[in-house]
């Protein structure tokens, strides 16, 4: 069973995405901040992280860097409302495997997660 960590400072989004991927056979963890995400990543070593960028405290790009330092094997998809070319470039440079902007198409989110887990 794939381990998925969902990081978003909106509770509703964490809940919804958890239910969505649980129904698709994932073992889902959620974190409401980058700090919480780091400690879960350390403990659980998820296969994949869905990571928001704009959060209180540490932002998603910093979290991306730290998780990649912890374990390069953890795949990370940025899921953010920011349609910012610079952020996108930086995310890819730091090792993110995809960058999805909200509002998103659910099908696309699912396909992107599955595709990157295989690849």
């Amino acid at each position: 069973m794939h381990k998925l960590l969902v990081v978003d400072d909106e509770n509703d989004i964490c809940d919804f995405v958890r239910t969505f991927f649980k129904d698709r056979g994932f073992n889902v963890f959620t974190a409401l901040s980058a700090e919480e995400a780091l400690s879960i990543a350390k403990k659980e070593r998820p296969d994949m992280v869905l990571l928001d960028i704009k959060m209180k405290g540490m932002d998603g790009l910093a979290a991306l860097k730290h998780i990649k330092e912890l374990d390069r094997g953890i795949k990370i998809i940025m899921v953010t409302a920011l349609e910012d070319q610079d952020k996108m470039r930086e995310a890819y440079k730091l090792g993110a495997c995809d960058y999805i902007t909200k509002p998103l198409i659910l099908d696309y989110l699912e396909q992107t997660v599955l595709k990157n887990l295989k690849g």
Partner: protein, 459 residues
């Protein structure tokens, strides 16, 4: 026959909704269940019930039109349905032009099932959107609602699988989308032929199916909401158009003023002795007008300041029709020549007359040489029969003529000219205009620039 035995009843929902609509225009208040409505007697069957339903709909649609922000209306619809019908989750997808897709803008419901606002969007080629764009699609019941059960029935129908594989795939696509949204019913909001949005309803918490009447209610709500949304969008578009027209008007207006200034400069350029005259007269006029605040006659003008400014700029436009040898004559004019030059006010009015927007201005230009006692020209008008702006120009015009050199006489000093204005107050000039001039003069607002033909004209 009645299926309304379970609380909250269909009727209490209607009543609650009407009451909320009446109480709050556009806003939502915390929901407090209305005991009177909840305890209201169950509807009787037959005619009365039908009438209640219709009067509710009338009231609802009347009030919905008043919502300025469709988001408020949508939030209220979602909240009403969620609270009253006990559904796992309710959401609304609304078409957003800038994203070219349907975005989930409001939702309510159980943890995990509630779809977060702004998280999900559906593109126009999504099977769930396409099924509504094609209104004749037979997956949709006669009410217009897409029902998950109907899709399942369709998928179980062997003849569809065997005879219409494309249709079968389509059904699968729709089922998948409804699964994603955990939707049991999808109610479209149409305006004319456009799909503005979709009301998404999850399962009832009780697990029961939706009744026909509930579905009818959703359809009506959705249609009314579509009207309100279209209305709000129309208002928004209109406001944008008004802004554009205003901007255009300001631009055209600026061009118009500049055209008037250019025309005035052309007149000035022809008459070397009165160089800068038009600009100075216009400035004097505006200074006098500042002292006329509150004079009732000002209110008779649609736009007093503008009429004054343009009339002052163009008061001598008729000099175009006066022969050069008279205008630039170096010496005193003969009586015949003087008669000729007096025609410039009529010629000016004639030139401006065809411009409909300048009909006021043409009249002021015609009368700027009238005297308060009736001894002026061309019509010999007296007192308040002379239009106000013309009476102002008369003072400003005379003052500038006195304070600048003419071929046949030397200029007066400012003090002498002021004295002359006072002396002719009540005969040549309207005493009120003279007083206004004097006030402006005392305040230092009458600034005489003497161009002796050498300075460049800033116009």
């Amino acid at each position: 026959m009645s299926t309304h035995k379970k609380a909250p009843s269909w009727r209490s929902l209607q009543g609650w909704f009407v009451e909320k609509l009446m109480d709050h225009q556009g806003g939502i208040s915390p929901l407090t269940p209305n005991q009177n409505l909840l305890n209201a007697s169950l509807p009787r069957e037959g005619a009365l019930q039908k009438q209640d339903y219709q009067s509710f709909l009338e009231a609802a649609s009347r009030t919905m039109i008043r919502f300025k922000k469709p988001e408020h209306l949508i939030k209220m619809i979602v909240k009403t349905i969620d609270d009253q019908l006990k559904i796992m989750h309710t959401a609304v997808l609304l078409y957003k032009e800038e994203k070219k897709s349907y975005i989930l803008i409001d939702s309510k419901g159980t943890t995990g099932l509630k779809i977060p606002v702004g998280f999900v969007r559906l593109s126009a080629d999504n099977p769930l959107i396409e099924v509504f764009s094609d209104k004749n699609s037979f997956f949709i019941s006669e009410t217009g609602i897409l029902n998950y059960d109907d899709i399942i029935c369709g998928l179980r129908n062997r003849s569809i699988l065997e005879l219409q594989p494309e249709l079968y795939d389509n059904l699968l696509g729709i089922k998948k989308q409804m699964d994603l949204l955990k939707a049991v019913l999808c109610v479209p909001c149409y305006f004319k032929k456009d799909l503005l949005g979709i009301l998404v309803l999850g399962e009832k918490i009780s697990g029961e199916a939706f009744s026909r009447e509930e579905m009818g209610f959703f359809v009506t709500l959705a249609n009314d909401a579509a009207m309100a949304i279209a209305n709000a969008q129309l208002i928004e578009n209109l406001q944008q158009k008004i802004g554009e027209v205003k901007e255009l008007y300001v631009r055209e207006h600026r061009i118009f003023i500049h055209t008037s200034i250019a025309l005035a400069a052309a007149i000035d350029a022809r008459d070397q002795y009165t160089h800068g005259h038009t600009e100075r007269v216009t400035n004097y006029c505006l200074s006098i007008a500042k002292e006329l605040d509150g004079v009732p006659e000002v209110a008779h003008y649609k736009n007093f300041r503008e009429t004054l400014q343009i009339s002052a700029l163009l008061h001598d436009v008729g000099k175009i029709g006066i022969p050069d040898y008279i205008l630039s004559k170096n010496g005193k004019l003969t009586p015949e020549e003087y008669e000729e030059i007096k025609k410039h006010s009529i010629i000016g009015a004639t030139i401006l007359h065809p411009i409909k927007e300048l009909s006021d201005v043409a009249n002021e230009v015609r009368h700027h040489q009238e005297c308060f006692d009736g001894s002026g020209y061309p019509d010999g008008l007296a007192g308040n029969d002379i239009p106000l702006v013309a009476r102002i120009i008369a003072v400003a015009d005379a003052f500038d003529a006195m304070t600048t050199n003419r071929p046949y006489r030397k200029k007066k000093t400012v003090e002498e000219a002021v004295h002359e204005l006072k002396a002719k107050s009540g005969t040549q000039f309207d005493p009120i205009m003279v007083s206004a001039f004097l006030l402006a003069y005392q305040k230092g607002n009458i600034i005489t620039n003497n161009y002796n033909g050498k300075n460049s004209n800033p116009l």
